[in-house]
Amino acid sequence: MASVFGAAVKRREDARLITGRGRYTDDVQLPGMLYASILRSPHAHARIKRIDVSAARAASGVVAVFTGQDLAGKMGLIPTAWLPPDSGIRTTAHPALAVDKVRYVGDGVAMVVAEDRYAARDAIDLIRVEYEVLPAVVDQEQALEDGAPLVHDDAPGNLAFHWKAGNATDEVFTQAEVVVRQRFRQQRLIPNPMEPRSAVADYNASTGELTMWLTSQNPHIHRLLLSGILGIPEHKLRVVAVDVGGGFGAKIACYPDEALVGFASLQLGRPVKWTEDRRENFMATTHGRDMVLDVELAGTRDGTLTAIRVRNVANMGAYLSTAAPGVPTILFGLIVPGPYRIPYAGVDVRGVFTNTTPTDAYRGAGRPEATYLLERMVDLFAREIGMDPVEVRRQNLIRADEFPYNTAMGLQYDSGDYEQALDKALAMLGYEEFREQQEKLRQQGRYLGVGVTTYVEICGLGPSQVAGAVGFQGGLWESATVRVHPSGKVTAFTGTSPHGQGEETTFAQIVSAKLGVPVEDVEVVHGDTNRIAMGWGTYGSRTTPVGGSALAVAADRVIEKAKKIAAHMLEVAEEDVSFADGVFSVQGAPSRQVTFQEVALQAYLAWNLPAGVEPALEGSAFYDPTNFVYPFGTHICVVEVLPDTGEVKILRYVAVDDPGPVINPMIAEGQVHGGIVQGIGQALWEGALYDEQGQLVSGTFMDYAMPKARFFPTFETAFTETPSPHTPLGVKGIGETGTIAATPTVVNAVLDALAPFGVRDIDMPLTPERVWRAIRNGRDGA
């Protein structure tokens, strides 16, 4: 059989995207379409005393203006879908437009609908709002203090939830030979997919159908939630999200804005389009990270790690976004022990309301934060006991013969050879040679450093029972249908919703290899709730391990049926038929054969089918994984720090990732590149900044430093391929590894470079000034 793996097939989605024929949401043009614009709060915390929309309503081209009062009783509240158990979680009311209070800069206050974009925008300026400005709280630790301003009256102390897990006790730490302690700040990041959020809603009153084009990573989840919010049954609501310009977690959530667009179309009976501008994206699209982490790592003098525990105070922003509570709890906490044999681990997580934009998943979602603290702590521990940080890692990595491995946090890691990835990366870099070179250059006043990260991540979300047990209000299985047409051409339907990851191609590769048909004969359909019955979308590196597995199972079901028909056509028993490379042949008489295409035709003509076999050739699967999958790897970075300005230059970056067997190495490598750049972005440049009043200071691309091409050298990437024993194809996931591994790798490299100055920690992002100050303070201290 042709292999599912290893072919660098060019992406088929590119044909439309490189010729300008993609159809992103804002590209949708409908006859009679109106345009919406949203007035957003300029205050982080204020009581709305009065809203006067009369001038806006009267303005030329304006069709309607809605305020929070207008929605009451007509539109549901914005829900939170992930409720970690035993956490006392408080989901407070989140209306689509603020009614009594605004709670962050960017909170929606009114929506204008007009004949064109320009008129809608102009009318926004005509709305008069009288605010009573209230004291705001921005920092999550300050929000927990007595007397802090209350974001929600029904969330005392601004505590949204408090979740604990693990087996670490005080005793483990008091008895440990070595304990290192450190506080880390995971700064707030802005996901910034290049395509801003957008929605087009088209309500047809005569059929009662509402069609919504959305910038969505998960159209079926959006259909489910919007159906509830808008009061329109699911079979009358179609959500389309085929071409989506990146998401990185920020297009998972169910936002007020998109719901409002649907509401406006329902109210007005005309198509309505809304597209945020970048400034709105900064204010009103979910942010990521923002945690304060106090960590203790215990071990022995000879380098054995024995326990880790973390206190996490997570900034949830003004409302609990759709998946947000799961990020600093489940996705963060369960992976804290990482790839190491650490028998005791514990996490204590408090989610806190503040007057800031809500946070939610951002590429990696919880796992980058956990990996960051762990890898930073391992380096600090190595420094403390005077051991090479690579040796500490090697000594504690779970060994290949220990899988499946049960962790202190209750996970069962499926498979791995962590040391192999480490060795490969070290060899690619030439670690020993680098250490020698580093020492020589230090004598010359040049400061180079190396950072090494060994990581494991949890992805492939996930087993439905586990999803339920951890409070996700839905199973995380996935659907697939493989529909073979009479000609033998194939349409494959997936409930995942790729938006740049290339599964139109890799999923075609899976089906093509399975069925033995040319890859061009397979079309992959995603992102349309009218074409796919149900699905859970694309996030958490689940698309290939869960959605790809579903397709593989569906394809097997096609083969199973086709084999019955082929046996009938060949006039032999089913068990005498073998199938390879698209041909059914009789065992022992291989010249007697029928092709897959001939079987497909026969399945539809159906005048000569075996008894009990229905016409047509189609297979469906609703695949529910039995466990998560656990990609792993080693990343190494070499930096040079320029002591006169504090600038960090990345000299080399080596990544060895193990995502299981690789279907399309070109696409997998692309995922790694993108992830690395986002991870380094957090380490060196990116950071959302609020002032004391809750104004977002870094609110444009002029202030918020997105990684640019000239910041990077050519990355050196490679894979090891350890199959997962429990997915049908053995595949794991690759979408988030770079973001998870790169941040600590770079920060540890910088701190290694600065070791001569005794620098222990620098807050991210490691801006030139922060590095320069650390050097200067180190010099002064020395």
Partner: protein, 285 residues
């Protein structure tokens, strides 16, 4: 991001442009490349009722040697500044700075006149203009006005430009042939603007001492300034490493240095000295 509505007129000549401005009661703004003005208008931080498009006025174009000066039309783009043979040869600091403005697309569109008249504190070209003692040639209905660059930049987005004037060209004295001109910049990682930028044009005479030195600093202060302290420290001295370092250490002395979220006042002062030293080394190596 949509600008508020405005009326639009296109001027075909300087005379017509001035008449249109007068007719607007002084409310109109000039539109050349638009790369300084339009971003502000899209944020609605600027809402002029009328724009007068001067981008097609032939008199605002051209680069010419006039006596001992190079006169450069206000509409000259950054890309042209960076590539023009006369500018590269005679005002290398200007070409070097223009090469580092923004990005390829912005350099295709942004103009010398627009850049200077906008007076962004972090703009690159003002450093060169003040360092070399450039003069801004402004036409007004009342006659031509010549404004020295050093007196032109008054503060963030504030200049000495007469309200009824149109910047026609910028006249740079051509430095002596034995000098070298450079621009050293620390770009903001997001905006690409100068966190600090230092323009140096300098030369050494036959006796091995610095006989020509002009230094301008941008990005660090509320307006671009001429770093006289650096010049004074180096003029008449041999450009030893020590002399360069000592002179560079005074790069922040002549400006009102400011801090922001990315770089504090103290760090910016420091950057000025680092960049000044780099620039002096390149110019006097």
């Amino acid at each position: 991001m949509i600008p508020s509505a405005f009326a639009y007129e296109r001027a075909e000549s300087v005379e017509q442009a001035l008449a249109l401005l007068q007719a607007s009661g002084g409310e109109a703004k000039w539109l050349a490349g638009g790369h300084s003005l339009l971003p502000l208008m899209k944020l609605r931080l600027s809402t002029p009722p009328k724009l007068i498009d001067i981008s097609r006025i032939p008199e605002l174009r051209g680069v010419a040697r006039v006596g001992d000066r190079l006169v450069i039309g206000a509409l000259t783009t950054h890309r042209e500044l960076a590539a023009h043979p006369l500018i590269r040869e005679q005002l290398p600091a200007l070409a070097d700075a223009a090469r580092q403005v923004g990005d390829l697309q912005v350099r295709n569109r942004g103009t010398l006149g627009g850049n200077l008249a906008h007076a962004d504190t972090a703009s690159d070209l003002p450093a060169v203009a003040v360092s070399l003692g450039a003069e801004l040639l402004v036409v007004t209905p009342d006659g031509d006005v010549v404004l020295p660059a050093e007196e032109f930049f008054l503060g963030p987005l504030v200049t000495a430009m007469p309200e009824n004037g149109l910047l026609k060209a910028v006249s740079f004295p051509v430095p002596p042939g034995h000098t070298r001109g450079v621009y050293e910049k620390f770009p903001h990682p997001a905006s690409g603007y100068a966190v600090a930028g230092v323009a140096v044009t300098a030369g050494v005479n036959a006796d091995g001492v610095v006989d020509y030195i002009r230094v301008g600093v941008t990005g660090a202060a509320d307006a671009a300034y001429r770093a006289k302290a650096v010049e004074d420290a180096l003029a008449g001295r041999a450009p030893t490493q020590e002399a360069l370092r000592e002179a560079a250490a005074r790069a922040a002395d002549d400006g009102v240095i400011a801090g922001d979220a990315f770089a504090s006042e103290e760090y910016r002062r420091h950057l000025c000295t680092v960049l000044a030293e780099r620039a002096l080394r390149r110019a006097l190596a």
